[in-house]
Symmetry: C2
Subunit: 239 residues, 2 copies
Amino acid sequence: MSTAVSAKHSDAASLVSNTIGEITRHIRAHELGPGDRLPSEAALSRQLSVSRTVVREAFSSLAAMRLIDLRAGRRATVAELDYGAMSLVIEHGVHTEQITVQQIYDVRRTIETRTAMLAALRRTADEVERIRTHALAMRENFQRPEQVMEHDLAFHLELAKAAKNPVFSLIVGAFERVSRQTWPIGWRSRPSDAEQLEMIQIHIDLAEAIETGDPQSARDLMARHFDESVKALLAAGIA
Amino acid sequence: MSTAVSAKHSDAASLVSNTIGEITRHIRAHELGPGDRLPSEAALSRQLSVSRTVVREAFSSLAAMRLIDLRAGRRATVAELDYGAMSLVIEHGVHTEQITVQQIYDVRRTIETRTAMLAALRRTADEVERIRTHALAMRENFQRPEQVMEHDLAFHLELAKAAKNPVFSLIVGAFERVSRQTWPIGWRSRPSDAEQLEMIQIHIDLAEAIETGDPQSARDLMARHFDESVKALLAAGIA
DNA sequence: AGGGCAAACCTGTATGGCAGGTTTTTCCAG
DNA sequence: CTGGAAAAACCTGCCATACAGGTTTGCCCT
């Protein structure tokens, strides 16, 4: 696998690309925030002297990146931060074999040891509650892997949120789609109840470390979680 | 600023979304890799029983996320990993005030202390050469900020590449667009030649640590680099 | 003033068309 | 039979128009 990652120099002066640029410029110039409405397709079409088709494709592209929200009949609105697009990019990279699962685990370990620390320092009572709830739900439902996975994913996202840095949330979320597909592999590679419960216990311990506000402990637990996950994956033959 | 980051549950069964799903499924099912060609718009239009308009918007959206490449007259092809879309998402987050510059620096510090370590362990001779070249070019051109910035950005990207994990490249690249806009602020907040050269010197030292294969030293230098950058930004009043 | 209804507006999707760029086929010359 | 050029077929970028719904606005009646 190559590690080449590039960005096309987008001087591709197609009408659609230019229109996308104009729209983002409009957002910036008018200092629009999430929820604010953009001009209608017809209005932009006139204003920029392009057909409605072009404006539509520009809107469609921006919606694909989740920069704006589109709904029938309604005007387009500026969107809230959303990791949907990034998640698709990562998924695409894995499916086209440009990214391996192990590489993702390395990045997640790097990111999430940090979010664990920050969460321990910055979490609110509500967040602790939600984090703990997910950890406990993993144990309660531990015979229904589907449930365990959902709470596992939610646990990590909630923890990132408690770190109070939306960029971490974005990145953790970016791995969601891929995680849904690789999670069962990791689960099956822990064949005994004991091993599965052990993995779940780490989450419970993590919740506790975050509650008591112990960043070192939280970081170490998260690091251990990922180290053991990678070990399990390797044992299952995922190279 | 709120730290809410979500992902719309895309059961939005619009024709375009479904078509996007069908196309990505096609890529997966046929195990297409970068450069492989997709069916024509007309073919997909017939195959999925939707108008060419819908297929076009689906293609357009996928191209916006850089999952496929589009060029006039040519068939759409599967794209290589590209951080263009992610860079736009981050830029959007900053412009709509959902992300602060400081938050980005925290993430970059987390990520890049890791890439520095890995680069020291895994770099090839070629990569060392390119990294050093950029660092030296920063010093040579240090009276032309534009040049310094370009080599600075290239330095960090090249370093991520040397870490041999494309996901790190993706993330470092994701900050490129925003960095281009905030970099001058950081530069101006180091008013004296001495301070500017000191910042550049860290890059040169980093290149050396990576050449000699000293991961600890590389990590520490990178950490120091970000700590001082944040300090400079704060001094300039960027909260 | 308030509530409901109709008109105006807006987006989603479809069809047909044309200008150029690209690929494939064909066919001629050597 | 081969090399290569011309032509045909195909493809995408962009446009105009049309119509079915969903949404917003504003008016009118109570």
